[in-house]
Symmetry: C2
Subunit: 471 residues, 2 copies
């Protein structure tokens, strides 16, 4: 039996404007409606059977992650990082956490932001890797290359160490196009998938040999924390750990590494060209991911990818382009320049533009809100509260709020009185009034909030009590 | 003295998605913030001095046109068409209307959807044309070609008929590229601008000779109507007039035609490539027309035009593209395929999609409304009422409305009571209540309307009285 360790990080800046700091790549919905994170969890559960996977993620994504897994019978445990420190600290802490329960536990480390279309083949590869791990190897999943890809690291495979696995001759960095073509032709190179299988005791021993400082510092961080319910919040000292990948920290130094070459419809979804490649194309190579406004109108266009949720898109005479449309930002790019999308994010960060960080719809533990419009002295939001959830008991110094309920049922507290309201009813929250909004029902509560005031920033909030520990 | 006749029609389907049936090309704002219509009127006033121009337009655009000219001291008279019938019927009715006052009146027919950047040169050309008109000619403005344009009709010029003007040797249809290049090289070809100057009596005589049926039918239409205030509403019989251009109906047949070749920074703004050409480009040939979200981010892109009012746009590796962004529809096209935009409009019409017809913001005689969002059982609008204006006294069978005032002052009537409300106040209009919203103030009134009901179509309205004759 394998214990899955899901590494849920990765901003995915090359997938802007859909991916943003507050809505990173693991939560993107590609290919089938479920997020990459939720799909990864389902794969993990197919391997883990009834054992609860471990998720290592940023504390900012805790509530969001729980929401994504709301329908799952078996819940994971969360190791929450105060800041991301690359894969080595995450895997080290996870291995130490697992070793506490069982030093011989066999762990499968999986990034949460990859797409795998052939789950059966993945499970088969995992079985091979588990056998290797039980024999004391650190098993790596190597993907048999299908194209001379320059965006991945490669592994040169040596002799067989088992029927299914090979020794590692060397790791190689992202190659240029000619080198990549040579690797593809040679046949003994595979892509480094970033998916690993090992016994807790084995990776700890490898860390002790290759990077003892990191191991000891990580142990100290873990020793200083205690699980609360389904989560363990790693302390501020975690942010002092060396930010280094597990490849550099261990894999490229240790001797007991083996590769399991496999094919299971893997994509790292690193940039928009990779996303486009995973979607069935029409006769002209065009692909799209759209919803409410239907299919794009393609006129004499080829190999073009359109991603749009709300807007009608028409394309005329386009070739090999990306059109990525979101409510507040639009990207149009040559598909072969997909990697350069991160430059846009850098520019936005440098200029202080919020569009690198947040979407117009913000997620909260209790639901979501969407800014529908604003102007001098007012702001309009659509607020959705999930069944059984409640906002904090709060107060604003600079704004009053008008609420009109458009669906569901609300329990509304204003100062000392609480009333139950439903569709087509409205109320008013004066400046300075203590108030709380809760959904006591079993369907979503949706209301329109019109804020009036001289200052309408999100930080004008005084919280008195909160179900999510945000006071 | 010249009497300007402004022909304000032209759907501008090649300028979708900015231009739509309810927001046609003359009302587009390009180059300097004012609409093409308003810019045309200013040129007309520079010619007309204190004489009131005549505007021929669709009755649907009457209030909108008046709004555009609200700041003008001299107001025009409107001839309102029930449906557009091309230029010949419009010019014929206008000439007959002018001839009633003065048979010798000298008219200058100007399309409202052209851009002219050199007003001085235009006025000079108009003076030459007026001299010709006084001599009994129909004077045409011919634009000296600067490129081998295939999108315009050409005029081959013959001998001089005055120092500034030439006889017409022949009119030629839109040429192919080789022919256009030959015309450009020959030097005696000009573009047909669609701007004409003639005495009322002369065009009426030309019509009597070339197309007597149209003349008599148009006279009957005009005889059956009477001016009311600043407008003359042409009757339904107008829609029976032959739909034909003035070129076909008169110019290509009459003998007394003369061309005034001129250069005054003219563009017909026929398609997005022409729009892009009129905007100063950066070092890489990129142009843009943006507002609230600032300049687009261009990364290694060339000759690309971005038009976006609300959204941040990033472009990577683009060459010779158009990106035209509106709140509900987006066009991305190869600039050299600008003419094919009309195909998108045809497809939208065929599929019954509203995006060929209306924008998310709708104009009304009293102001505007914008749909901010909708869902099952609710719709949210931002409503703006101009100072001194009022909506009709109305009632809805299927919806109630919640109003929150976010700026300005409102006079709100519900059944028998009327109250004055201002910012941060709200009210409720139950289903079936007779109500009216008015702005008694001197600043815009802005309110957020949340509609609740099982049916939320615009046609659920019973009007009892209306200041704009819409009962």
């Amino acid at each position: 039996m394998l214990l899955p360790i899901i590494l849920s990080g990765g901003a995915g800046t090359r997938l802007w404007p859909v991916s943003r700091e507050a809505h990173p790549k693991p939560f993107m919905r590609i290919g089938g409606g479920k997020s990459l994170f939720a799909q990864t969890y389902e794969r993990a559960m197919a391997i883990a059977d009834q054992c609860a996977p471990l998720i290592v993620t940023n504390r900012e994504y805790y509530f969001r992650s729980r929401d994504e897994l709301a329908a799952q019978a078996v819940k994971p445990h969360y190791l929450l990082e105060p800041t991301g420190r690359n894969t080595a600290p995450a895997i080290t802490v996870a291995a130490l956490w697992a070793a506490r329960q069982d030093d011989d536990a066999c762990l499968l480390a999986m990034p949460a932001d990859h797409l795998i279309t052939d789950t059966e083949a993945f499970l088969k590869a995992a079985q091979h890797a588990e056998l290797l791990a039980r024999d004391g190897f650190i098993g790596l999943f190597g993907i048999r290359p299908t194209t001379p890809e320059t965006g991945f690291g490669y592994i040169e495979m040596g002799d067989n160490v088992s029927q299914q696995a090979h020794a590692v001759r060397r790791f190689v960095e992202k190659p240029d196009a000619a080198t990549a073509a040579a690797y593809l032709a040679q046949g003994n190179y595979v892509w480094n998938s970033g998916i690993f299988c090992f016994k807790a005791s084995v990776i700890v021993a490898a860390l002790a040999a290759c990077n003892p400082a990191l191991l000891e510092a990580a142990r100290a961080v873990l020793d200083a924390t205690r699980a609360e319910g389904d989560k363990t919040e790693l302390g501020a000292a975690f942010s002092q750990l060396e930010s280094i990948s597990i490849d550099y920290a261990v894999m490229e130094k240790a001797q007991n590494i083996a590769v399991v070459p496999a094919e299971f419809g893997w994509s790292d979804m690193g940039a928009w060209d990779a996303v486009s490649d995973m979607i069935p194309a029409d006769d002209h190579g065009n692909t799209s991911n759209t919803s409410s406004n239907g299919q794009p109108i393609f006129i004499d266009s080829r190999n073009t990818y359109v991603d749009s949720r709300d807007r009608l898109v028409a394309a005329i005479g386009l070739d090999n382009l990306l059109v990525i449309d979101t409510p507040d930002a639009l990207l149009v790019a040559d598909k072969s320049r997909s990697q350069e999308v991160r430059q846009v994010v850098s520019q936005l960060k440098a200029s202080g533009h919020e569009a690198h960080k947040i979407h117009r719809t913000a997620l909260r533990p209790w639901g979501t809100y969407t800014v529908l419009g604003e102007g001098p002295g007012f702001k309009i939001k659509r607020v959705l509260v999930k069944p059984g959830q409640a906002l904090s008991l709060q107060m604003h110094h600079h704004r009053s709020e008008h609420w009109v309920i458009v669906s569901g049922t609300a329990n509304i507290t204003v100062d000392d009185s609480t009333v139950l309201m439903s569709q087509n009813q409205s109320t008013y929250i004066p400046i300075g009034a203590k108030h709380r909004l809760a959904n006591p029902g079993i369907t979503d509560l949706v209301l329109i909030e019109v804020q009036c005031g001289s200052y309408l920033g999100e930080d004008d909030i005084v919280r008195f009590s909160d179900a999510y520990g945000r006071v």
